[in-house]
Amino acid sequence: MNPETGKFDYYIQVIPGSGTVINFGSNNTLSGDPLNGVVGHNSTVNAARSLSIGHNNTITQDDNIVFGTYLAPTVQHNITIGRGADVSSPMVNSKYGTVGIGYFATVPTLYVHSGYEVGETYVGDIGGVSIGGPDLDTLTALQLTSHASDGSSYFLKMKDSTGVEYMTVDDLGNMVLSGVLTVDSLVCSHTPTIHTAVGDTSNYHTPNKVGDMFIDSSGGGVYVSTGTARGDWVLLNVLLPLVFVIRRKRKTA
């Protein structure tokens, strides 16, 4: 605002000798790099093909576009959206080839990665998302990092439209599912696994763990493993020999 007229004037700063630049606002600094621009105030763009829209942003690496306040990407090829904590603690996007989003944070809360390699390589038209954490692991579509490691925070909550929780995973990895889990097999040292076979009387096969069950679906034997060596099955039910059963029936008749 022009303090004398009380009206809004345009302020334009032309930088001779540089390529085409845009500078709308006040107290901006632009380098002579080609195709850079600033819309806003108190921002610095010392990089080619870079654009700052907002205030108090600093771009020193090429091919960066920022939108917000107190943003300072430190590598090339980023888009950063949001706001840093303050002018001395800007939000820094240091992950190459990402879109970083956050607010009142020194690093983005959410990164959308191109491809899924850590570092400066990327793999085409599929990528991944990392929330709250460091670099995205290779070949990972979605990676979440918890806030704490003491069970006090959650990686993930799934709620219905009325707010009722149906699934949670806390920061210790404890998972609670209120509905039904349908799974091909459940591998857990504290949960028995059922093994079945027809006509197998040789205590086959070797138990995977103590407490597993083996059902002889032909002979009707029900076994529980007491060890993990071959033959470590204990028969729980008494199987009467067939001859004994026939004789007993004839006697009864």
Binding site: G133, M213, N237
Partner: protein, 275 residues
């Protein structure tokens, strides 16, 4: 005098029906602000070295962008929004459908024709160095060209289907899903999801074949698996009801305190295992 002229020209551009741009004067070598009137168009904004169209309410901020569609805006470099109602922030983007919002980057060294296909109408697509957004935030969740307002979903990675009427592959979210995640591969080498604690220790993962690993405890309403026993119980039931669902299930007669394990899936296929 020159400064006054610049301000005057810029003021004209603000009044509407005009565009203003900074361009290099080939004679003086200086950058100058000039006005580029777009006749018959509504208010346009053109800041930078761009190629605007003559359609209503389109805007360009940056360089080497082109927009020949209405209600569209580009902020960035080397983008082209030739579809209506598109908002683009980034570089090397080219739209192929109306009603999109792209936040997308690219590289001159790689290609200047990114994102030509697979735009999802009614979504914000976010990605970098990718031909499609790695993440799409949808309005609504209809898996078609329609979308439905206040509730939506997030799609991570691709799900494509061939749209015959436009003769093109399009990418859509599944219907009625808040979050849909697609893996990169289907051979067990990639992950749909990983959860790590603040020290980087993995606590939960789902790989691309659905194998799920939970580091902590697991609670569920019930578990349905051919390899995990299901416990059924009732009081005073001596008729071996219910019929076993599968081999290895447990039936507890809570009245008689008897324990049965099924070795047959026919009625009566329970074996009493206590004395």
């Amino acid at each position: 005098m020159k400064r006054i002229l610049i301000i005057l020209l810029l003021s004209i551009s603000l009044a509407g029906y005009s565009q203003s741009r900074l361009q290099l004067n080939p004679i003086t070598g200086d950058l100058e602000l000039s006005a580029n009137i777009a006749f018959m168009a509504d208010t346009l904004i053109n800041l930078g070295d761009n190629s605007p169209g003559q359609f209503l309410v389109n805007s360009l901020i940056g360089h080497n962008n082109s927009s020949v569609s209405k209600n569209s805006m580009i902020i960035g470099f080397n983008c082209s929004a030739n579809c209506a109602d598109n908002f683009v922030m980034g570089s090397y983007f080219k739209c192929s459908s109306d009603h999109g919002f792209a936040i997308s980057g690219g590289s001159m060294e790689v290609s200047q024709t990114f994102n030509q296909h697979g735009r999802i109408p009614g979504s914000v697509g976010i990605g970098y160095f990718s031909q499609r957004g790695a993440m799409h935030v949808h309005s609504g969740y209809n898996s078609d060209d329609t979308y439905c307002g206040d509730i939506g979903g997030v799609l991570i990675n691709r799900y494509w289907t061939f749209k015959s009427y436009i003769n093109r592959y399009q990418y859509y979210a599944d219907s009625a899903l808040a979050l849909s995640v697609y893996s990169h591969n289907v051979d067990g080498s990639s992950y749909m999801m990983k959860l790590k604690d603040s020290e980087g220790v993995e606590k939960f993962s789902i790989n691309d074949q659905g194998a799920t690993t939970v580091a902590g405890s697991f609670e569920a309403g019930s578990v349905i698996s051919n390899y995990t026993p299901m416990v059924y119980h009732a009081a005073g039931d001596t008729s071996y009801i219910p019929v076993p669902v599968k081999l290895g299930d447990l039936y507890i007669d809570t009245s008689q305190k008897d324990v049965y394990i099924s070795n047959n899936t026919a009625r009566g296929g329970w074996q009493k295992v206590n004395e």
